[in-house]
Amino acid sequence: MTFGELTELLWEGLKETLWMVGVATLVTVVGGLLIGVLLVLTDRGGLLPARPVNALLGLIVNVGRSLPFIILLVAVIPFTRALVGTTIGTTAAIVPLAIGAIPFYARLVETALREVPADVVAAAVAMGSSRAQIVGKVLLREARSGLVAGLTVTVIALVGYSAMAGVVGGGGLGDLAIRYGYQRFETEVMIATVVVLVVLVQLVQMLGDVLVRRLSHR
């Protein structure tokens, strides 16, 4: 394989990875924040206590987190078909990626929100804040550096999950490393892919760290 062909392959793989991880991240942020906020609100002593809802959400999150991703990938195929019309390809891989990452991020959101001191929330209640104001202006805003730190971890986990997307023809860098590097014994492709992945993860982590530092005023 020539150097030109190798860079062509890597570039294609990188684009697919970025597309899969990017869209899955957006969906995960929305879903994870929603579930994370609900987990905190509905808990005992929360702002909207509802034990059954809380227990059910907790169960869903735990089930989602205990399924190995490779099994999830196959298990959600019918759902993927209903949602995007196909079960193979990069876009189809986004569905299981988001489903896998949402429970993961939801727990991190929950943890970050619990870091907001109880007396700060009590002060907001005492000022006559509505629940929406407390969630938006107090919980989410005060926890934002923690939310970004959690998102950084989630994005990196998504990069890892996306390596398995090849099973449904999702492509991406991980798939490249498995097909060329592992199955065809083209070691230089594998090494090159791993280097690109390491750089990608490093960049995500650095970006996350910078944001966390800028958002934190503790």
């Binding site: 001191p117 007396d119 700060v120 009590a122 002060a123 907001a124 209640v125 005492a126 000022m127 006559g128 804040s129 509505s130 104001q133 202006k137 107090v138 805003r141 005060e142 934002r144 958002l215 005023h217 503790r218």
Partner: protein, 322 residues
Amino acid sequence: MIRIEGLRKTYRARRREVVAVDGVDLRVRPGEIFGVLGRSGAGKSTLLRCVNLLERPDAGTVEVDGVELTGLGERRLREQRRRLGMVHQHFALLASRTAAGNVAYALEVAGVPRAERARRVAELLELVGLADRAGAYPAQLSGGQKQRVGIARALAADPKVLLSDEATSALDPETTRSVLDLLLDLNRRLGLTILLITHEMEVVKRICHSAAVMRDGRFVESGPVTELLARPESELARGLFPPSQAPVRDGEEVLDVLVSGEAADAPLLSALARELGIDVRLIDGGVETLATGRAGRLRLAVSGKRAEAADFLRARGAGVAA
């Protein structure tokens, strides 16, 4: 201004029932600074949190400025809470907002239009003496400065009543004094009614007009500070002016005297010596200036006629321990 009747609050903790507030009646007059004094665990924090219904009482009523809060729906309760400022022991500021931003939050909640907010924030920070620190984040402020932000925020919606939950307990003595002076100043200038809870005698001494001593969920005594301090059996008196154990000489008899209000400034000792024809010696004690007047405890030695001396002092408004 605040009227609480028959307030009760119990908690379940590890399958045990803990009575935090056990039937408290409380009345705070408009423009008054009322202090609830007690040790930690006495139930004072729960009592305060019941006033703006951060905690729902199990029984009893809470009325503030003529509005009974216990009967309100959620929306009306939120509106009423805006008229009740609250200051917290650990400041409870939003770490992600500047001093000005924290004050602005209270205005946002109260529905003050954006254009007016900036002006009000500047006014409020000026009022608490923090105009120059408007752009600082809480992490960049000292404890006293944070509490000033907390006070400015509590005053944002022009409340008539301020609730103070151990506002000075996390501060050093000097900062405590300056924050107490600020509260007293606000009370005088704005006619602000203040209900505060504290475990510090100093707070009652410096700013409270009335006080209650709380133990095991109940008020053991309550009333105007100068009245409480004239009673020998008063726990407040014992706390503010601890009885002295200084020794007596042979042939002397001891009188433990509490003077408060007029009695504190009357020439009691010379009158006592003159009228009864006895010698009077001051063993220990003194008179201090409090928020509402002067008071103190004196340990006297008399050369005889102890019972008559006690009656003489009692007739002039002093409290004498039997």
